[in-house]
Symmetry: D3
Subunit: 253 residues, 6 copies
């Protein structure tokens, strides 16, 4: 039994509140255990300079934490005047992951801005951000598709993320909270599509290493978790889920 | 009748959810109409260099908006690498106002960090921030006073803020929403104590001017509004309100 | 009697040297007691991006202090790489105040850049800046109006500013010098037009509060002071003053 | 056959020139095909503030490219005044990877600064940096171990990195050059120890996805490549290689 | 005859007003033709970190221009958030030059901060800054020497600077104004001591070159000019000049 | 005899490897004793905004050091977020010097970007940069002249630089290494054309001064050294040297 009485392959309780804010084209508040992230998607009828004139769209993401999302107050990046390496890594990951399930040609020459603002952090903020941002983005694109009568729905498949790791006491554990994450020997983040293919796989030994077999074990546990998470995304999307492919059985490995 | 069916001296509906986040010593979510601000108060057992060794405490505030708190997405100040003049003005105002009702000697050599993060904006974000931050700060200081057995409760009186202005159609109006604020000829913010004294009074003709009589009218309407707001603060504070002076009748003018 | 032998409602000696520098379209050196500010006005035949194509002009201001304008040397903002909150507040105030007395349509699509550089500081630098900048701006606009044969003179009325405050020993005092300002309980800045209407009113309790009656007293004393200051502006402008409305009696309150 | 006549599992020619510069404690010039990186290791007898007083050492890395290491000139990060997200990601990866094979307690309270400066880029600069930096670091630590008579040699095992990917024409290919990398559907970087365990595994679908089987194929090909690379590291280290564990057979998968 | 009716070896009229400001330990307003610079010297009882504990003093300089010191308004360096290369070059030159005539041991462990702020520019601002800063520094050090009863007067000799150049029409000309400087083929700045020795000699062909003979001619003309300038410095210093060596005849060349 | 057994007027051994890198239009590795600099020249078919539409070209230079080019590791300017004054001075000098021997009209409306990256430093990095950059630039322009069939070869003459100084023990010494430079009383850099004319002459007393005669001595020694350096440049350029004027005898002084 883990600290919060979960078994090693259990997810934390997850909720996704849609249309959480009045202004953005798409928005959700996603809660994963005590981790809470506001994800918004904004449609901008322009693309960055390097994309202009190609008739293709773009998706870009920013990630931030409120100063007191954490146990100790963090200095704001705006006060420091620069963005931390960790923040950059996360926001690049979110943007890259979302682009992998969007048909950028079908989106047309416009940008979807994703903003993930962590209100409260208890581990897994980057994977919660991806999972929530997928829903916010799909809501915004559905609204756009309707207004502009896009001939093809630009979102091709579901996308969700989860963390998995290895801790001294329990071996492989799924969906680590902050206490577990701090003590983990290995930390892995998996981003997967509804069809069960990998988009990103990032495994890191934290001043430790891991074997080939341990890698396979971590992947197996994550696969199961992502299946549940995508069901929650489907429910949150309601009617809009019909525009996505049916959520197949995740491929067994 | 105003756009949202209020009369000129009506406040918008206001709620103050206390202990909104798990980590900060004090936190609230304040909603004023559609304006929503997360206010947190963090206790830091140090003071800034210019205050060291005086045995006195300090209170400082930061203010920010989520990029999509507004109708158009705003670029993050962390991305721009600098803080806008408007942000600086507001955070200086919040800090200064809160310090006016705190006995800094009684607080002891520590800092209360206030963070006001606007989740959704519809006018009056700076006054909602002050009103909410007062509650978050008082909650944090109450916890501190208990833990450290402070001999004197450092918060001396209530503190709340409201906006008032003049619009073409209705003259003096209280608690402007965004649409009203954009069209206002005169914009005034008042910060007042429970005892009915001014802490700040900032009136600005927006490419317009105002007379002495109009100033008096705006003050009169605000006084009434602040009285109601402080009652809501008292309720939100619950038991802790007993440590504050009784909320007197606001002095008539 | 105050530190410098003034009575409570006395202004400090004030001089306004016009055409102080050879390059700017308008320039003054304003001295208010020991406070000295160089104010320049530069005409730029462009407007900021957000104003383009509207046929209207813009007025913007920057404020700075020489490092040794003060008793202790200040680090330059260019060395620190960022502008202090206080500086931003002041330069936003100066620009906003000047715009309230200029007909921006009559100015045409051009910008007046105001620069206020404090050479020596002894209290009241922001109000001296506004008072001096008004003269520099009017000189520059008069030159422009002549050269471009503008059909309507864009400056609509006089504009001047003064500080007033409350000190322990004397109660309400006008035009505070640095020593008085440092010890003041309440600090207020008033910006008024020649017609006696308010443009800005900013009163701040410095870790103190003030009553309604005290507000009225401060306003009354300032009204008188501003009347004298505008007379000095009129003299400094010489012939150009004829393009402005006659300097009426300031409305009694 | 690939563009440069290699088969899919072939590495590019690799050379490691040790003691390339006169000043650093350890330095190499590593060439992998046309990619050339200067890696230096500097010993600093201090640790960062968050590590002080723990008796442990630290390893940190910086990565940069000469402006004309690439086909198009890049603007220097010093001119832009900020470090790109990609640079941050890479330098965090290098530092983390090296720390996984160093006994930080045995290193003592000092920092090894790694600098990887890309002189010429043709794909695989981050993996060449890790491979070269391992040698530079081991040279520097060997010198330190000698001078300070460290009781235990702090480097625990070999460490090397390689890229692998999937391209339309050939499927899985090892050690991609720039032309291949630009066209790759999947891009993966593997960092491994001499004992054949993973330190990092980062696989990214570039607007594409990959299956479980493809992941296994990429890992298998990389394992073989890393074996050869570590042999080259061993040769470059000469006598110093004796302080490291024998370079075992990489575990088959 | 030159544009302003000077002959080729004539200086422009020069005045040095001492004790121009009330706060700094030493201050002057130096006017050289239409060029006007406020030079201040501030004593700081600390030295920079790299000088601590050596018992020696330091002299450092900063240089800036008001935005409208020039014909076209310049953007403030504080607004741009960085200091231009030209500014850095000038302020390094001023500091280095002043240090060459000061006995830093005799100064004791303290810093003299020099600030040169150009109020109005018409060529030769860097040389006017050095000439004026020498006087401001000597005034400040004289005050310090008195207050602290320094056993040895730290200023060893006079120091002044002048520009010389070559223009198409007149060949070698001394003390160029802005119009001449803009058209000059060669631009040289000389900094010399009272004893007639060089401290700095910086000659630059502006997209042109100069011969050995032309160099000698420029030096000869400057020598004469500097002699006059130092006489003016001596007069400005009044009684304090007695603490300096007698102003010898400048060595003929 | 000097530290490294040279006589006072001896240069250090110098080599210039051309086409050192594969991507830039021109590149060299220049070694002067232990000082090694990679100089590249990149052709950009645009000019900076202030040059547009004039049909003329531009040459601009950047200079940097690897962090461990020196005995102590230097913090990267990209990490500090700003460029040091020394760096700015050097890169402005390099650009200005190169422009003096190029016919910018003949170059056409394009920019030559020069990058000088010091790989290893042992004194004289700025002069080695100029000498090497001249060769890299000439190689790039020769390629351009060929491809674009420029009617006139834009490089007008050779350009090289050397340092000279005065040290306590030996008096005037040529081409100082780091140990000599650190102890020098006077430090001078000379930049000269193939025709023997000065482009730049910068002499600095390092908290010391120098006489007229010493200036002449330093110039004489440098003249001889530059003659040898230009011969090496000619050899490095090979066939391309034919496009330059014959390397005349340097004018005796």
């Amino acid at each position: 039994m883990r600290i919060d009485e979960r078994s090693v392959a259990d997810l934390r309780p997850m909720t996704i509140d849609t249309d959480y804010l009045m202004h953005p084209e798409g928005s959700v508040l996603i809660s994963v255990g005590n981790t809470k992230v506001i994800c918004t998607a904004s449609i901008d009828e322009r693309v960055p300079p390097f994309m202009r004139g190609q008739g293709k769209g773009w998706i870009t993401a920013e990630y931030s934490m409120l100063p007191r999302a954490t146990g100790q107050r963090n200095i704001r990046e705006s006060s420091k005047g620069k963005i931390a390496g960790r923040t950059m890594e996360i926001q690049r990951l979110i943007g890259r992951a979302l682009r992998s399930v969007v048909n950028l040609d079908a989106l047309g020459e416009r940008t979807v801005w994703i903003d993930c603002d962590v209100i409260q952090a208890d581990g897994g903020t980057r994977t919660a951000s991806i999972t929530g941002a997928f829903v916010a983005m799909t809501l915004a694109i559905a609204k756009l598709a309707e207004e502009k009568s896009l001939p093809l729905f630009p979102v091709k498949d579901y996308l969700a993320a989860i963390s998995v790791g290895m801790v001294e006491e329990h071996g492989v554990v799924l969906d680590l909270n902050y206490a577990e994450d701090s003590a983990a020997l290995v930390d892995m983040n998996m981003v997967m599509t509804g069809a069960g293919e990998f988009v990103e796989l990032q495994g890191t030994g934290e001043e430790a290493t891991f074997t080939h077999q341990q890698l396979l074990d971590m992947i197996a546990v994550s696969d199961q978790g992502l299946k549940s998470i995508m069901k929650a995304q489907k429910e949150a999307l309601g009617e809009i889920a019909r525009k996505l492919p049916a959520l197949g059985e995740v491929n067994p490995i």
